[in-house]
């Protein structure tokens, strides 16, 4: 990592001093990375028949331990550490905790075997050409892609670092660490492999493209302020002499674009439907929930710590992006005929709703974002888990027409899914409503005229998306069932994931007070 050395060099005092590391604060990340490395060793040395069990065990243990460490040790040891590269504060801890919980549920859905030998969603051999004899042989031999678990943990490690990054380079590295394993995971679908590989390639190309934007923007900001640290940039913005002012705005915009790409904001969203559709469904759920949490965490830190002082210069652009994201996401979801694409567009619209809260520029806005991310991610995980259950002839029934009449034959599954859709639509007594409320209220109170307009657009778009979800509910309950579409029997793994996701959706809708309080008390950034 030569880039890091350079940045350190500029901030380095004459005599070299080892940086102080607050191990307690970063312990959850260390546990996750340790689990991932252990997973690599398991992949290499564990006998094949044990590999699946050991991998799932390692991943689950790592996640649980990391979560326990986070809530027992790290919360009491907040601070800026690792030569200011990592900032463990309220928002960072809140998001890391959410990420750990969400990833645990995702790992459970990824481990679902549907009675087979390996994880059902993943191809037995990712390197083989689709439809080749090699693939067939791998299938016969009962190979299983158990490396998805360490990959997920690596990605999670990057995600946890992302909202905790104190400087632009750490942020960039976190971005890459979280993205690279995701590109791989996207291409590993067992069925419709061409679609899956295409999704992975598209995601990779466009992700690289957006990373280039981010890096170029970071370079410009470094040129402007002489530092990559967010707090130094913030200082430079308020005190700068004016010689290099021309670098600031392009730098801000390009860095923002890199992050807005990850949350799928319009017009940087084009990859989302294709990738969501092509990726193995549990991975899609993981991406939709966890990536969004991490990327919004990074946006919050960048915007609230680094760029708040000159927000009047760039805010207009993000307002337009937020409005476009809500409108395009919700309107296009109307014409979708594939359930995963529909949820993709819905996730785009939700990104717009979160942006509205980001633009409030208030502590309550931060709390709104944090709460929204928790609410949305639990609902999303459960929804995608159900999508992976509903099948026709062994493969997922992703076309909407196949969902017709599901309520007849599988009342419980359809009911849970309908409930999750109501949450996406933001109907009261679901977490979706409380979340929209928590996101929109600060925008109304502190966002000025633009805030009010954004909320009006947001409410209008909620109505459009509500139409889409209700139509799907109508489809599930009021039409003739399709022959052969069944909701597969699932193991306790997926059942737990769906149950937890659904219960969270309900609890956060009915008694959200505690989590709202927690989000509010976690909304202060260390600078």
């Amino acid at each position: 990592m030569p880039a890091v050395t350079v940045s350190f060099a500029s901030a380095l005092p004459a005599a070299f001093q080892a940086t102080q590391v607050d191990y307690k604060a970063i312990a959850p990340m260390l546990v996750v990375f340790g689990g991932a490395l252990l997973g690599v060793l398991v992949e290499a040395f564990a006998p094949r028949r044990l590999r699946y069990l050991v991998q799932v065990g390692v991943a689950v243990v790592a996640l649980v331990v990391a979560f326990v460490v986070l809530v027992t040790v790290s919360v009491h040891d907040q601070g800026i550490t690792l030569a200011r590269a990592v900032v463990i504060d309220g928002p960072a801890l809140f998001l890391q905790g959410t990420l750990l919980a969400i990833t645990l549920l995702s790992v459970l859905t990824m481990a679902e075997r549907f009675g087979g030998e390996g994880p059902d969603a993943f191809t037995p051999m990712g390197a083989s050409v689709p439809g080749s004899p090699q693939e067939a042989a791998a299938l016969r031999a009962g190979l299983a892609t158990s490396e998805v678990f360490p990959l997920t943990l690596f990605s999670l490690g990057g995600m946890m670092l992302f909202p905790a990054a104190g400087d632009l380079l750490t942020m960039f590295i976190a971005l890459e660490v979280l993205s690279l394993p995701l590109y791989l995971l996207c291409g590993l679908a067992r069925r419709r492999r061409l679609l899956s590989q295409e999704a992975a390639l598209k995601y990779f190309l466009l992700g690289a493209f957006s990373s280039a934007f981010f890096l170029f923007g970071a370079a410009l900001l470094y040129g402007y302020s002489g530092s990559v640290y967010l707090s130094d940039i913030a200082k430079a913005v308020t005190t700068a002499s004016g010689d290099l002012d021309g670098l600031l705005l392009p730098g801000v915009v390009l860095v923002l674009v890199g992050l807005l790409f990850k949350v799928a904001a319009v017009p940087f969203h084009s990859w989302t439907p294709d990738v969501y559709q092509g990726a193995p469904t549990p991975v899609t759920g993981f991406m939709a929930a966890a990536t969004k949490i991490a990327a919004f965490g990074a946006i919050l830190r960048l915007v609230y710590v680094g760029l708040e002082a000159n927000r009047w210069d760039w805010r207009g652009g993000v307002i337009v992006v937020a409005a476009l994201t809500m409108v395009v996401g919700s309107v296009l979801s109307v014409t979708q005929t594939d359930i995963k694409r529909l949820l993709a567009y819905s996730s785009i619209a939700h990104a717009g709703f979160v942006l509205v809260a980001v633009l409030a520029f208030d502590r309550l806005g931060v709390a709104g974002v944090l709460f929204y991310l928790v609410a949305y991610s639990f609902t999303t995980i459960a929804a995608f888990a159900i999508v992976s259950m509903v099948r026709q002839g062994g493969s997922e029934a992703s076309h909407l027409s196949q969902w017709a009449g599901l309520g007849r034959n599988h009342p419980v599954v359809a009911f849970v899914f309908a409930f999750l859709l109501l949450a996406f639509a933001g109907i009261p007594l679901t977490s979706g409503f409380t979340a929209k409320f928590a996101a929109f209220a600060p925008a109304l109170a502190h966002g000025g005229t633009y805030g009010v307009w954004l909320v009006v657009i947001g409410v209008l778009c909620s109505v459009i998306t509500a139409f889409v979800y209700f139509r799907l509910i109508v489809l599930m309950y009021f039409t003739k069932p399709v022959e052969g579409v069944v909701a597969e029997q699932v193991s306790p793994l997926t059942t737990v994931a769906i149950t937890v996701g659904t219960l969270a959706t309900l609890v956060l809708g009915v008694v959200p007070a505690q989590v709202l309080e927690l989000a509010k008390s976690s909304s202060l950034f260390l600078r």
Binding site: L254, T335, H399, F437, A441
Partner: protein, 645 residues
Amino acid sequence: MTSLATLAAAQGNVPAATGITAYAWLLVALPLLGAAVLLFGGRVTDAWGPYFAVAMSWAAFVVGLLIWLVMLGRPGGERAADLHLFSWVPAGSFKVDAGMLVDQLSLAFVLLVTFVGSLIHVYSLGYMAHDPDKRRFFGYLNLFVAAMLLLVLANSYLLLYVGWEGVGLASYLLIGFWSQNPSYATAGNKAFIANRVGDFGLSVAIMIMFVTFGAVDFQSVDAGASHANGAAVTAMGLMLLLGACGKSAQFPLQSWLGDAMAGPTPVSALIHAATMVTAGVYLVVRSHAIFDASPGAQLAVVIVGAITLLFGAVVGCAKDDIKKALAASTMSQIGYMMLAAGLGPVGYAFAIFHLLTHGFFKAGMFLGAGSVMHGMNDQVDMRRFGGLSTVMKVTWVTFGLGWLAIIGFPGLSGYWSKDKIIESAFVGDGWHAWVFGLAAMIGAGITAFYMSRLFFMTFQGERRWTDDVHPHESPLTMTVPMVVLAVGSALLGVAIGPTGIIQSWLEPVVGTHPEHEHTVLPALAITLLTLLLVAAGIALAWMRYWRDAVPTMAPAGSLLTQAARHDLYQDEVNEGLLMRPGIHLTRSLVFADNRGVDGAVGGLAALVGGTSSRVRRLQNGFARSYALTMLAGVVVFLGALWVIQ
């Protein structure tokens, strides 16, 4: 904003509920328990489930009755009680507590909903006896009752919204209950779309309230309304009206009600006649402080009411389907209530009065129609009825009482309530009083015509039955509720109307009824003219549908008749104004979503072509064009900011 909120807190606090009133939550919990047991209990509950649902509904009625008796014992100003349930959304300075407001207005609704609802539960035992899925049906019915009670008992607009969505959901579920029939499922869709538009209005109104008052509970909004910015209050009023129009099938969102008749008849009686569709009227009356503060919004309510009452009446004259004719009549009668509610303190009490009497006679008539259909192999075409008075005596008499009540036959319920509305419409000066008064009066004449037409075509004249029907009277579970409702249709009006009970009962909630209001015509003249028009309507109907033979095929009819048969071309107008532009918007956005012409065509094809074509299209998708959009986005983003700077 803060000052208004504190003001609201300082003014007239409703005391906390004590005694039996503190158990008002049971009103919602009991039917909800019934719904949960039936819907989640599975086949185990098949045998006793329906009876359990009936019991839960009656239990809710008993709780309501007890609360009412306790309330009667207190003086008027101290009857309202607030029941705090829990702190719901504590978001910063803004808090929403979930709670119930048990006052005279909500309790009037509670009694109507639980009593009529329970009767209809009993009726359904007979009507749905042979349906294999009747457990689900009763589960939905209980769910509806719970949601409706939550709607009327909520103490804030937010919780009201929960109930509002709940009744909507139960309504779709019940409209589409027989969803094996595709046209029935379409009907559910239509109700659903119209209601989405209405719900949108309600949610925007709540948003404006939050911005203006910083609170959404009834107390704060009531207290703040007269001090707030006029434009904001008018906007709130209009948005609430939009919500009311969606739920209550008022112009211009009325098109769904006729199609909603596809649901089982007890559902039509309960939801689409007696209770849910009147929720819009409840909303307007409950928001009286907002409407009192905004004459513009009030006028809009009156105009909507006047248009709908004539619209529904005209449509009702041409329908041959007995349930659709009754649906048109419901629409028209709710128009009367809306008109009264828009008149301000003169009309609030009468709006609720007519709502209560209408709940009885219309539910009774729907049950009667269900009884007729039960005996006639589920036929609904009135041109195939006729002469049923001899074979279905109980149905004939009970339906007859409902018919006389709705046309305003002197002494029966409808006479007392509707006459008061017509009189109130004539109150005031200038063109308002004349236009709305005459609209209400003419509406009464048309109502007499179409209801008599319906009654005569069904029960009188010669028998025009198809060969395979053998009409018979319905079982006791069905006739007893009809009899009870018929007694209510006859006597409820005289009991609470001329005695002034309804006005003094509601006075603490909706404000004092102004004394000696000035009508542009003497009250006696209004009553006599109305009766004359009603008599003329009956006579015309008698000549055409009793004395003369009714053809079994509908004659071509005049242009107006044809238009009325097509609901005055409402669907066509909706399609032209709303649907087409919507489709174009979506298409152009799909086009703009960087897929170019191929993408748009492909997208359309995929809509019909299914998964395979979509997959193929995807594998020809271009990452390069995606990247190009991103680049264009960055350039525009940055360029625009530079230009602005």
